[in-house]
Each structure stands twice: as C-alpha cells, then as structure tokens.
C-alpha cells in the first residue's frame, strides 16, 4: 500500500512539474492534505515554505455541527498575491472542502492561478470542482468512505459508513 501511494506521489510530482512554472507556492489542506503536500513539496524541491490551510472557519455546515474541536490555525508564511498556487488535499469527494479553501485563500490575497492536486479523486461531487492532478481515481458508493491515515506511513482506509 505504502509503495503504491509513493508511486502515485511521484507521478503527481511529475505532472505538476510539467504543468507549473514560475516558482509556485504549495498549500496543503489540514490534515491529510498537509501530509500529501509535505511529500510533493520534497519531491518537487520547492524553495518556498509549505503553507497549511485549515478551512474549519469556512465550512458550510457550521449551522449543523458548530465549531470543530481544536482547530490548528492556518499558516501561510508567504504573500499569495499574484503567485501560482498548488492546492493539495488527500481526498476530493463532494468538492465542498475545496470551495472553502479557495474562499480562504482569496482572503489572503489574489493569486495568479490555483492548481488543484489530490491524492485520491473519488466519485460523489456536489459542486463544479475538478482536480488538475490526481494520484488515483476511485468509484465508491455514497455510503463508502476513503480516509488517508498518516503522517508516517501514509495508508488508505476504505470502509462503509456505520
């Protein structure tokens, strides 16, 4: 499993290298997305520090579930204004996380471009959002969940919701 994930990461890094120029900035979405971003950041030898985004304050389900317990603050140690951003998450499912992440990034400034890279792209999109770079695509039933565990080693858990 770890081997397989590593291969997906190498492929993703290669695809991103081909796609991006101009000293991109990388931002991982908390928590799984940060683990994936850390590896891509290393594989791509990026100079700028890695940003971390916690979209808890931008979620669309606050009125249903309230504040999330212990939110690690977002940390973008750079200006996003006019930069090329690679946004990284572990799983792309409904698209709502990415919607929230884009909103948050734009509250820091106006990036030139945002490219989305996800380790797993699964079925079940609820918003018009797609990934530019994908490690692995999966078709899952609505009641099935895929979750990345980590940070060391990275592994995938697929289970039916209780």
């Amino acid at each position: 499993m770890t081997q397989e994930i590593n291969q997906w990461l190498v492929n993703m890094a290669g695809d991103l290298q081909d796609m991006i120029r101009n000293d991109p900035l990388m931002i991982g979405i908390h928590t799984g997305g940060v683990w994936v971003a850390e590896r891509l950041h290393k594989l791509m030898n990026l100079n700028s520090p890695l940003g971390q985004l916690n979209i808890a304050f931008y979620r669309d389900d606050f009125s249903r579930i309230g504040v999330h317990p212990r939110v690690q603050p977002s940390n973008l140690p750079f200006e996003v204004e006019d930069r090329h951003i690679i946004l990284v998450d572990d799983v792309l499912h409904t698209g709502r996380t990415i919607r929230a992440a884009l909103n948050e990034i734009f509250d820091y400034g106006r990036p030139a471009t945002v490219t989305l890279a996800v380790l797993i792209e699964r079925s079940g999109r609820e918003l018009p959002i797609r990934a530019d770079v994908v490690g692995k695509s999966m078709t899952l039933n609505a009641n099935e969940h895929v979750k990345l565990s980590g940070p060391e080693p990275l592994a995938l858990v697929i289970k039916a919701a209780e």
Binding site: A56, F62, R64, G66, P69, V71, D90, V91, Y108
Partner: protein, 331 residues
C-alpha cells in the same frame, strides 16, 4: 435549577457565557484553544472569516464601556456576524420600557445573541433565563459579580507568556471588593490549576471572606509581590474615593501603586496586566505601564480572539445535532 447550569446545554457544551464559576477546566482550555485559532485572523489581509455569516448579535450596554464593547463588536465583525450596538442608557429604557419588553423587541428582530453589560449583578443570568431557546447570552460584565470574557482573555495572555499554569504564582492588586474582574479571575486561575493566587490591597478594599476562594491575602504590596510570575493590576475606581474607603489617590499610589522599584520583588520575567482603562500615577506608574514587562496592549488584541471563540462556540452549539467527536470532514 442551579443558575450555573443555565450556561450549558444538555451535552455539557457552552450555550451562554455568564460566569467562570461552574465551568470545568477542559471547557476553559477549549475556549483558549479556539481563541488561538482565531488569533491569526486579525493579521491577514481580509480580517474576516465567514463562520457567523447571517447571524445577528446585539450589544446591550446598560452601562458605558468603550473597550469591551468595541472588542465584542470587532469580534462579531471578524466572524462576519451583523452586530448592532444599543446604548440602552440613552434609549427606550429611559422612556420607561421594561427590560423584558426591550428583550422581546430585540427577539422580534431575530437577534441570535445578546452581549450584556449591566450595573446589576445577575442581570445577564436573568436575561439568559428569559430569552428564546435559539438565543445565546454573553455576560460582558454585571455589577461587581463577574466579567468572564475579561478573565478568559487574561488567561489567554498568561498562557501565551507562561505556557504552563500549574507552576504559576499570580497576584491581583487593588480594589478586590468592587471588582468583577478579580472575582472571575480567581475562579479561572484556580480552575486552571495555578499554584497560588494572591490578592493585595488595603483592608477596606478586600472582602473579609475572600480566603474562602482559596487565595492568600496580603495588605503589603512588596511582601505580596515576592516571587510572583504574573501581576494583575486593577483599576482604582475613583468613585470609591468619595465613599471614604481611601484617603487619597496620592496615598494609594504610595502604598499600592505599581512602580519599577516595587516590581523588583517579583520574578525577573514577571508580566504585568491591567484590564484597562488605566489610571497612570494611581494604580500603576507610567514606566511600568509602558515598560517591557507590560502586556496591557496585548490583552486588548487577545480580547478580540477570545470573544470570537466564545461567540463561535455558543452559537455553534445551538446547532441541533449531537456533538461529533471527530470526522465531520466531507472532503
């Protein structure tokens, strides 16, 4: 019903925030942790997160306040809530409207939260007991009873500088008798488990039964400051002077005013706090207030983050579903 219970919902989560008394350690730490997450929002290009978009908050100030009111206002705005300020002292209540009628009127305007400052102890509790179930109440200071958000922002400031509460010795200096800050502070500090809380002041300004709260009383400033890590200086309310509890401001400053010389009794890395507004040359010397040990202005910025945390938690807990421990994440 015990009036402390009114703060919590059936899952033990914060619904109103009225007093520190009765809240457990893990809940106080939750507030501090959430505040830490919110602290960064004030440093961004867009100082706003959309968490409370569509919520309406009413600042009900029956007593004047600038700092507390504006930090609540900024906190609400940074959470994207709409906030209205009602200076009740100069509005309908003057025209004879009762408190309950004022509340019903605001409820009819679909307010989701009332932030209440009132000269009478227990006012926020009373309002919390009367509001509709979908409304949260936050106590922004009631009489000489409590000022819980001030206490929490002080705890946040202490944690920022000292990390661990358990080894700390904290001194609260000044008019303990009339201070709602002191009372909330003592409850918060003992709940968070500091090793010693001291109160320092003239006999006339220290309640006789204060030791029942587990604090040590000192009437001499230098003796009380020995080896302390944190000093909380309270504002000397000048109106007290008239009631003959104190001889004069000058005399008070000579005995209890915090100066660099007296500060030498405390630990070298002591921090000096003050809830504001400060009376320079009465309870604190300018050299101390503006000096390197003073964290008074940090307290103000922390006040915004802490109030954001409390507003988000109370309004978030009104969500009808059961609290979920983890993984509400839907990618």
């Amino acid at each position: 019903m015990n009036h402390h219970d009114i703060q919590l919902d059936k899952y033990g989560r914060l619904k109103h925030f009225l007093t520190i008394d009765g809240l457990d350690r893990s809940l106080l730490l939750d507030i501090l942790n959430h505040a830490e997450s919110f602290a960064g929002v004030g440093e961004r290009a867009v100082k706003k997160v959309p968490l409370l978009r569509g919520k309406t908050i009413a600042n009900l100030f029956f007593e004047p306040s600038t700092r507390t009111r504006t930090t609540f206002e900024l906190a609400a705005k940074r959470l994207s809530a709409d906030i209205i300020n009602l200076n009740i002292a100069s509005s309908a209540t003057r025209k004879g409207e009762s408190l309950l009628d004022t509340l019903r009127t605001l409820e009819a305007m679909h307010c989701d939260m009332f932030v209440v400052r009132h000269a009478n102890s227990g006012a926020a509790h009373f309002i919390a007991s009367q509001v509709a179930p979908h409304v949260s109440v936050i106590n922004a200071g009631d009489g000489s009873h409590s000022h819980p958000t001030q206490a929490m922002l002080d705890m946040f400031t202490i944690r920022m500088h000292k990390k661990d509460f358990s080894s700390l010795r904290v001194a609260i200096v000044g008019d303990i008798l009339h201070s709602r800050v002191a009372r909330s502070e003592i409850h918060a500090l003992s709940t968070l488990g500091v090793s010693e809380v001291r109160v320092i002041g003239p006999r006339t300004l220290i309640p006789k039964d204060i030791h029942t709260l587990g604090v040590h009383v000192f009437y001499d400033l230098i003796a009380g400051l020995e080896d302390v890590d944190v000093i909380v200086t309270l504002r000397l309310q000048r109106e007290r002077m008239r009631s003959a509890l104190l001889p004069s401001e000058q005399e008070y400053f000579n005995l209890y005013g915090l100066t660099e010389t007296k500060l030498a009794a405390a630990k070298p890395d002591v921090i000096v706090m003050h809830p504001g507004p400060i009376n320079r040359g009465v309870e604190i010397d300018s050299h101390v207030a503006d000096g390197k040990r003073s964290v008074i202005l940090q307290q103000v910025s922390h006040g915004i983050a802490v109030r954001m945390a409390i507003m988000a938690m109370t309004l978030g807990n009104l969500a009808e579903s059961k609290p979920k421990e983890s993984d509400a994440h839907s990618n």
